[in-house]
């Protein structure tokens, strides 16, 4: 009985709106701290190098996955990287539609394990794997020590 006389309009129900306050502050950590300071203060992209096996890591790691050794040596990345994979993005972080689609990609660097997933500063039709790119940074003084200090990667 009651199921057929059920209210089908959810707005007729009493309800209480709210917002889950799940704010957070994420600290960069030891390696991340040095990486972001170098980026912010000197405009340099840095990685680390394992003194045992020579593997170079980007983003920088403090431990080598290969030898399970602590990593101490810091090295600057080459100026140019290569797009390993690319995709066209039509939706923003909050789920809303972007006014114009953007190109995003994984940028790798010769001799380094890892890479950055970042915005590619090209029209979507030009975004493809194999593209040679270079980091475009925000001007000095406006950088805050975050990955967004890199505007994107441009050919």
């Amino acid at each position: 009985m009651t199921f057929t006389e059920r209210t089908t309009d959810a707005r007729s129900f009493r309800h209480w709106p709210g917002n889950v306050e799940a704010d957070y502050i994420y600290t960069s950590g030891i390696a991340g701290e040095r990486f972001f300071r170098e980026l912010r203060d000197h405009g340099r992209l840095m990685g680390t190098r394992c003194s045992e096996c020579g593997t170079q890591w980007v983003p920088p790691k403090l431990f080598c996955e290969e030898c399970f050794k602590e990593v101490h040596d810091w090295v600057e990345l080459p100026r140019e990287g290569t797009v390993g994979a690319a995709c066209i993005v039509g939706v923003a972080l909050d789920g809303s539609r972007l006014s114009a689609p953007e190109a995003w990609g994984l940028v790798r660097f010769a001799g380094f394990r890892g890479g950055f997933v970042h915005r590619l500063l090209v029209t979507p039709d030009r975004a493809r794997a194999g593209l040679r790119v270079r980091a475009v940074l925000k001007p000095e003084g406006t950088r805050t020590g975050a990955i967004t200090d890199i505007r994107g990667f441009s050919p």
């Binding site: 009651t2 959810a10 129900f13 009493r14 209480w16 502050i25 960069s28």
Partner: protein, 188 residues
């Protein structure tokens, strides 16, 4: 092993912890984060929600605003469920009809609380407890405040009646009843 004393039973950790002279990283307080001592990412997720009272409780709250208490009847077991529920958990079937119940009842249990709703200590106690409502099945009722009675006066089995807020200040909340007060010399 996974038990709390697993390390001790194995003969300790070999003093590994004691041998670490320098722990990496820096200890951070909230001041350090405010002052930008280290680089951080701040984020506030937009996690909205709407908590719905549902079919039965929505009607219950709407009726409270009108100064009435409503229940649901199950025709199978004959019980009058209060607060109202759309499903009879005894008969495992939907309940059948809306029925109004009285705003009088009996104190089933109570507490004399020297803590307020924020758990702060208070000198004037709050009286709270469960009222079984007249017209509903036995022992069916709601939890509420008691008023207009001394702490020495309150007792289980006491007859009480709802003290309603004025109609214009009712909002469709269980607090549209201010409290339950003693029902003196009134024939039920």
């Amino acid at each position: 092993m996974g038990r709390p004393h697993a390390i001790r039973q194995r003969g300790g950790d070999g003093g590994v912890t004691a041998n670490i002279a320098r722990w990496p990283g820096a200890e951070l307080g909230s001041k350090d984060l405010e002052n930008g001592k280290v680089t951080t990412q701040r984020y506030r997720p937009d996690a909205k929600f709407a908590w719905s009272a549902g079919e039965a409780m929505s009607r219950f709250l709407a009726e409270l605003q009108q100064g009435r208490l409503i229940a649901r009847e199950c025709k199978n077991c004959g019980r009058i469920l209060f607060p109202p529920r759309m499903f009879c958990e005894e008969c495992f079937r939907p309940t059948d009809e809306w029925v109004y119940v009285k705003d009088t009842g009996t104190i089933e249990t109570y507490s004399i609380s020297y803590l307020d709703t924020d758990a702060r200590r208070i000198t004037e106690p709050i009286l709270v407890g469960v009222v079984s409502v007249d017209g509903a099945s036995p022992k069916m009722g709601i939890m509420h405040y008691f008023g207009e009675m001394a702490t020495g006066e309150i007792r289980i089995g006491m007859k009480v009646q709802a003290k309603w807020r004025p109609a214009e200040s009712r909002v469709g909340s269980v607090l549209d009843i201010e409290y339950f007060r003693p029902l003196h010399g009134v024939d039920r």
